[in-house]
């Protein structure tokens, strides 16, 4: 049970509340403006503006950043149902599969390698 005691509960609750409040408020606001699909993006940008303002006046709390790092490490979980669906949909594409996969692999992996090479050289 030691691992439960080691969890920084105030930091977790604060970080989660910050994210949930910004996201839900942005979705609500954009729904009122008839663009609910932009809610997540507006949430990201508004939280970013608030955090940059915070950073301008003082340092961001390390506990917030650490907790969020742990959260982001498990973010793949949120994509799981749609990713499994993409696999299912691909199987049902029939004759289009070879051309489709060729485009997908070529246009993802070659740029991935080129961007990494460029970034390694220039950063």
């Amino acid at each position: 049970m030691n691992w439960i005691k080691r969890i920084d509960w105030p930091a977790w609750i604060g970080t989660l509340l910050l994210i949930i409040v910004f996201r839900e408020a942005s979705v609500w606001l954009m729904t009122q403006l008839n663009h609910p699909e932009l809610g997540n993006l507006v949430g990201l940008l508004s939280l970013l503006i608030v955090l940059f303002t915070w950073r301008y006046f003082g340092k961001l709390p390390a506990r917030l950043v650490d907790t969020n790092n742990k959260l982001m490490k498990e973010s793949a979980f949120a994509f799981l149902p749609v990713s499994a669906g993409a696999l299912m949909m691909l199987v049902h594409m029939g004759q289009k599969i070879p051309a489709f996969l060729f485009i997908m692999f070529f246009s993802t992996l070659i740029p991935l390698w080129i961007y990494a090479k460029m970034a390694k050289r220039w950063l």
Partner: protein, 224 residues
């Protein structure tokens, strides 16, 4: 409510089984293991994917939203004063344009339908923004989601091989965020917090930049 919990339990079980598998074979990302485990569990339990998705979709839409908003924290925590601005802008512009031109060009050369070619335009943009761009361009939404998710999965799955000689977590992270958007960013966080922060930066800036120039450019071409 019970079926949502059931669907959530299926997803969580698949994820928890995938974690030790990833520790055993670290070259294969957690998300790739988990995808197969979700489908395997659904198959064993005799649940059609459509039923599962209908139940978990509202909950996971929320989670996807939270992940998108949570990206603001690493972006705000990043140090920008030591970033070479000209180089970063150069990489971002090149990445944004090539990520649209390359798949669309290949789809055109392989004689795919014009709707499919349009769907490839959003290959490297994160899902919520890709859907918005697709709506503006009249591209088929389901095809757009498939392309976006699959490119993220391909980028994340093969990144350990493609990036094995890069030896720079900033470059690896930025490349993953630019080429494989949110799923690539999730994979970058598995590599470490430096790669994760750079991936989040690349993904967010690429998404916003592409969302501005791509619809403007295509609508301009259509009006000509």
């Amino acid at each position: 409510m019970l079926s949502i919990l059931y669907g959530f339990a299926v997803t969580l079980s698949a994820y928890l089984i995938a974690k030790p598998c990833n520790r055993f074979i670290p070259q294969i990302p957690v998300i790739v293991f988990s995808m197969f485990f979700v489908l395997a569990i659904l198959f064993v339990l005799g649940i059609p994917y459509e039923n599962y998705m209908d139940e978990v979709n509202p909950l996971f839409n929320h989670l996807l939203g939270y992940v998108t908003v949570a990206l603001a924290i690493p972006l705000a925590a990043m140090r920008y004063d030591d970033l070479p601005l000209k180089a970063i802008i150069g990489i971002l512009v090149f990445a944004s344009i090539s990520a649209v031109a390359l798949p669309m060009g290949l789809a055109y050369l392989l004689h795919m339908s014009s709707a499919d070619i349009m769907a490839f335009a959003t290959r490297a943009v994160t899902t919520p923004i890709a859907i918005n761009i697709a709506t503006l361009l009249d591209a088929p939404i389901s095809m757009v989601i498939l392309i976006v998710i699959l490119s993220g999965v391909i980028g994340a799955a093969f990144s350990p091989f493609i990036l094995r000689h890069i030896n720079d977590e900033r470059a690896s992270g930025l490349a993953l965020g630019l080429a494989a958007h949110a799923i690539g960013t999730a994979q970058a966080w598995q590599r470490g917090s430096v790669a994760g922060r750079y991936a989040a930066f690349g993904m967010a800036v690429n998404a916003v930049f592409t969302a501005i120039w791509l619809p403007t450019f295509i609508l301009y071409l259509q009006k000509m």
